[in-house]
Symmetry: C2
Subunit: 387 residues, 2 copies
Amino acid sequence: MKRMYLLAALALLIAGTGLSAQNTLPKAMTTYEAGTYPSETNVLRAEYPRVDPVSRKAYFKFLLPLAHTVTVTIGNDEYKGTKDIDGVWTIETAPLVVGFHYYFVNVDGARLTDPNSNSYFGYTANAGGIEVPEGPEGDYYRFNKDVPHGQIRSLNYYSEINGTYRHVNVYVPASYEQGKKRYPVLYLLHGMGENENGWVNQGYVNFILDNLIASGEAVEMIVVVMSGDIRTTPTIRTVPGKTVSDIYVNELVPFIDKTFRTLADREHRAMAGLSRGGSQTTATVLTNHNIDKFAWMATLSGLGGVNKDNVATIFDGAFADPAAFNRQMRLFHISWGTEEGARFPGSVDALRAQGINCVTYISEGTAHEWLTWRRGFRDLATKLFRK
Amino acid sequence: MKRMYLLAALALLIAGTGLSAQNTLPKAMTTYEAGTYPSETNVLRAEYPRVDPVSRKAYFKFLLPLAHTVTVTIGNDEYKGTKDIDGVWTIETAPLVVGFHYYFVNVDGARLTDPNSNSYFGYTANAGGIEVPEGPEGDYYRFNKDVPHGQIRSLNYYSEINGTYRHVNVYVPASYEQGKKRYPVLYLLHGMGENENGWVNQGYVNFILDNLIASGEAVEMIVVVMSGDIRTTPTIRTVPGKTVSDIYVNELVPFIDKTFRTLADREHRAMAGLSRGGSQTTATVLTNHNIDKFAWMATLSGLGGVNKDNVATIFDGAFADPAAFNRQMRLFHISWGTEEGARFPGSVDALRAQGINCVTYISEGTAHEWLTWRRGFRDLATKLFRK
């Protein structure tokens, strides 16, 4: 027990200085599992968490000699840790799906964040992230030094509806900076508990588009990656009676069209979103009757709940007249993962029985997670703004 | 004790669902200290940490019934928590300096991060942040809806020296997007344990420049906010024998001059950095003999160790011939806070005794912290690139 308190004092010292003290750490902290390496999402020089690219397992270690239980939560799964004599907790996961996962470390039941991971905003929290690497099949979302690169523009604009400024990320393709061309625009939304940085930080939307544009598989486009939430400040806590749809249509679209060289008509404007962002997309374009502003639409794991009984009335009757819908909507792209259950394919069946044209993409072996959305976005990007 | 375990189980449930469960939280978690409000650095809808704008104290709460000690570290200060009967730990700080501070939560000696705070990279870790508000005197670093706004461009470029890609943030002023003008460029570095996002996320360099440019107090300029570290990946852990100075001068400057409408000569190129970034600035411009590429230079809490005995030899003799130095260097700006001790004013005394021209700015009442650097940057920005 004395040893444990000494180690706790040591850990305090390390925490207090903010310095790395690898040489004085317990052996388990510097004994790495064979075949593993630090997750690419780690902060500079952090050895843990580590991943095994073959087994696809992740390993976490925390020096917490006094803790009763230490677990790691990844999605719906909680992995229990075991403690050694030095107070080092080791957590080994089951094989994970390749791609990105949020995680939290739970100490005696309290959800906390690992300072050794870069931060990813998920579950309305500052979460850690782990990336289980794909082989070359993942190259489409990786930086490629041999292709031209676009930019992410980070902007703030004042929103009268929100009562404060809002932050937005805008991808512009490589040719934008030097040229004079105008481009079509995709408005792209994150899921519940995430924010406008997700499609960049863990979705790699910029790398996916750089690669697809270079290979000619996608049309050059601007992508506006926006927030699906109402921004709060110390004085602005909620904005009752206003919707994010109003912000997009009345404020954000005009701001983007004023600021960038866009093709500012419905034929060159798309909206898409993942999970709750898919619901916000159908709410904005269909329920709130903005189909005159968006001729292309997509949901990524975001269109559940359509069935034969409600297909003619849902979204304020947007599908009541299939011929009219099909004439106006140039692309209705619907994607999901095979491990997400029946609600997405069920919705598509109901749409097709109603005569609604839609294009689907199904990600093999993935659930409600970022690999589903990277893949879905890739497929969507190849089909947007085609003649 | 039973009550504690029940609460721990409840906390696990909350963590597991990722949902807010305010109504079922212990009373202390929803009983807010009078006159306090959530820090503006909190994640969406998080009630803690809170700040009292009058006393300038911060308040933290964590539900950790089984923990032995819970503390919050802010800089060099560690604040102890007290636990109530429900297992809620409350931490009250001493009065803090206004401005931004990193923090960690330490549970039984282990340094962890609060998921309720936005993430700020400091101490080579994903840290929490708290902002103690200034009154109107802080308006210079706040978003102002009545002035034009520049953009932060987020780019990745391939570095042969680093062997992988590197991320860089580039501020361009509001006029850049629509115009044809060319601009002078400031290269700006963060401190040790921070990264290239710090000057944007907590330095507010974009808002400071938007405001100063709008009022005519600063010349329009591009600011390249770069990393002072060698990027590591699972396969690239260190790059021996190479320096970040080489990356700046041989790779980054040419990349920026190729990508942006810059005025690509020494008369329109400056370098500055805070803390270790100041050392990297003097190393790059002076020790590594790149004064032919930078005519303007600044250190923010970053020039210690110059004295009468070494002033003629330090930085490979850059100050040996004061007349030559003064002729070449258009501005040598040196800033620090009054609470940082004697090393910075001591260095300036030695420089001036040697006949070196320098301009100083001293931040009243602040230490080695971001308010010192926001203020120092503001003063610097008003003096850069003047005829």
